[in-house]
């Protein structure tokens, strides 16, 4: 039945129909290119504009027509001004210390937890999973009042340590989820084989599971590290004084009641976005290669 239909179609595709088909395909691919270009512009343009605006002379945006592609004059003055007028290096330092410390605590802690959830079946396992899942659902805004009070009473307000503790906790549920997924891809019998060969539990973990989990750990670390830039509300409420600020708080110091220093703000935005983008660009290829998990799949 279907064979006749295919034959029919071939028979009917005379020259006229063939031309129509080619024209339609051309219009299709033209439309495809137009849509693709539009989408690309929509993705890239806001980002491009930020970089461009950071190279305009100070105050350029106030006195001139909005440049869409390139400004009439260029200047590196915004870049000099932000380091001169704001303690940018201090804020960057704070951001790095907080994110790196938090990542270094989160990874081993979540590794232990996801290992336990994957390898053991015990009473209370499901409740613990729900406990973590709900923890991830709670919005920071719902917890910020008691956290503020608790940190104030414990003397942790306006300290780097306080912000780190808060960051760690809000990163943990996500890290446990992501790592759990990776650990599920590592079959139990690898470890069992090591046990049979005379390893103890810890050796089996260190020599077999840990190396296999490395790509997952790398991906999770990256994910967590980047996520550290986004816990704005926690930093906003828990780190009140300027010298404890992270870069995201500093960004807002350019928006004034009467006028906003667009050029400086955009330069600082580039500074704030750069670490995340660079880390991602460098690790992206490694990550995708690592995700295949090599021998585990076979």
């Amino acid at each position: 039945m279907s064979a006749t239909r295919v034959g029919d179609r071939h028979f009917r595709s005379g020259s006229l129909l063939y031309d129509a088909g080619r024209r339609r395909r051309f219009i299709n691919s033209l439309g495809f290119v137009v849509v693709l270009v539009t989408t690309t512009v929509a993705i890239v343009y806001p980002f491009y504009w930020m970089v461009m605006a950071s190279f305009m002379p100070l105050g350029y945006s106030l006195g001139n027509e909005t440049p869409l592609v390139l400004p009439k004059q260029f200047s590196i003055e915004p870049w000099l001004a932000i380091f001169r007028e704001r303690p940018l290096l201090l804020w960057l330092g704070n951001t790095t210390i907080i994110n790196v410390t938090a990542t270094f605590v989160v990874i081993p802690v979540s590794l232990l937890a996801s290992y336990s959830l994957n390898r053991y079946r015990f009473r209370g396992r499901m409740p613990f999973i729900v406990f973590v899942l709900l923890g991830q659902l709670l919005p920071a805004s719902a917890l910020i009042v008691p956290l503020f009070l608790m940190f104030r009473d414990a003397g942790l307000l306006n300290t780097t340590g306080g912000v780190v503790i808060a960051y760690i906790t809000f990163m943990l549920p996500t890290a446990i989820w992501v790592l759990w997924g990776y650990m599920q891809g590592i079959p139990l019998y690898f470890e069992e084989a090591a046990l049979v060969d005379g390893c103890n539990r810890f050796q089996a973990f260190r020599l077999v599971t840990l190396p296999l989990a490395m790509p997952g750990l790398a991906a999770t670390s990256l994910f967590i590290f980047l996520d550290g830039w986004n816990h704005y509300l926690l930093a906003f409420v828990l780190a009140g004084s300027t010298d404890q600020w992270v870069i995201s708080l500093g960004l807002f110091s350019f928006i004034g009641a009467y006028h906003t220093e667009i050029e400086q703000m955009m330069a600082t935005s580039v500074v704030a976005a750069a670490p995340a983008l660079v880390v991602f660009a460098l690790l992206q290829r490694h990550l995708r290669g690592g995700l295949a998990l090599g021998g585990v799949k076979g």
């Binding site: 279907s2 495809f32 693709l36 989408t39 993705i43 890239v44 343009y45 806001p46 980002f47 504009w49 930020m50 909005t66 869409l68 802690v109 979540s110 232990l112 937890a113 336990s116 959830l117 390898r119 053991y120 015990f122 613990f128 406990f131 973590v132 923890g135 659902l137 709670l138 919005p139 805004s141 719902a142 917890l143 910020i144 009042v145 008691p146 956290l147 503020f148 608790m150 760690i168 906790t169 809000f170 943990l172 446990i176 980047l226 830039w229 986004n230 704005y232 509300l233 409420v237 960004l251 807002f252 667009i262 703000m265 935005s269 704030a272 976005a273 995340a276 983008l277 660009a281 992206q284």
Partner: protein
Amino acid sequence: MSISRSTLPWLLLAPAGLLILAIIYVPLVYSALISITDAHLLRFSSAEFIGFGNYERLLARNRLATSLWRTFTYSAGTVVLSFLTGLFVALLLNRTTVLRGLARTLLIIPWATPWLVVTLIWYVMFNPQIGPINEVLNLLGVLEEGHSWLYSSQTAMLSIVIATSWRLFPAVTLILLAGLQGIPPEQYEAAEVDGASAWARFRYITMPGIRTVSITMLTLLTIWSSKLFTMAWTLTQGGPGDATRVLSVYTYQEAFGSNRLGRGSALAVISLLFSLLLVFVYLIVLRRDEEKAEA
């Protein structure tokens, strides 16, 4: 070995469990306790028990209902826009192999940009004086004068939905693209041989193929967008008026703007219930979907 088999798993869970307990669940209970007092930031020690007074006062006003509605609008708008855009781009990229690598890299840009930077970029994009959006609309002849997107109650919500979706849709694209590539091409070839239309192919091959991953993505988008504070706070401070006062912003304003910690905490408890409701709805959808798939 001195550690028994049943304590080891718990020992491994302990660090994570204790941290989550101390920094997420203890504050949660604390929050519930504060919410039944008249606690004020400046005279916290003299807070007194007032029962459900805060809740009654909140429920008696329109503000809470408005804020819930804003949260819903913001979340629904963001989920729909970022999912449809994400799906659309994923379908485009699925058709071509030439640009896929480059497109993946470009897509990472919004996704790897910190939220705060995203808000500032869009703060400038929407700016009535210097924003490129007005400039382009002006050139196209759509708009005569500059429109203040963020400061007009008609467009403020739309603006923050667009900005939020710009940041979120690449995640949708990347994940759906992986799902699309998991669909065996033979299915499409067979359908084409049988003369199935493009719509039929989409409806009966593509959609079932990415159904599960779509539901997961929709759940994540809903959770992310309903929790988000940064966008609505930094772009519009919940305004103009109450046009973008989502729950997270309302909570912050009551607690730290007006220093009414009690009422702020009551709002926190309400927003918790709101998130639980969302998750509950999705669990029902997911279960119904599984039953449908089995049937």
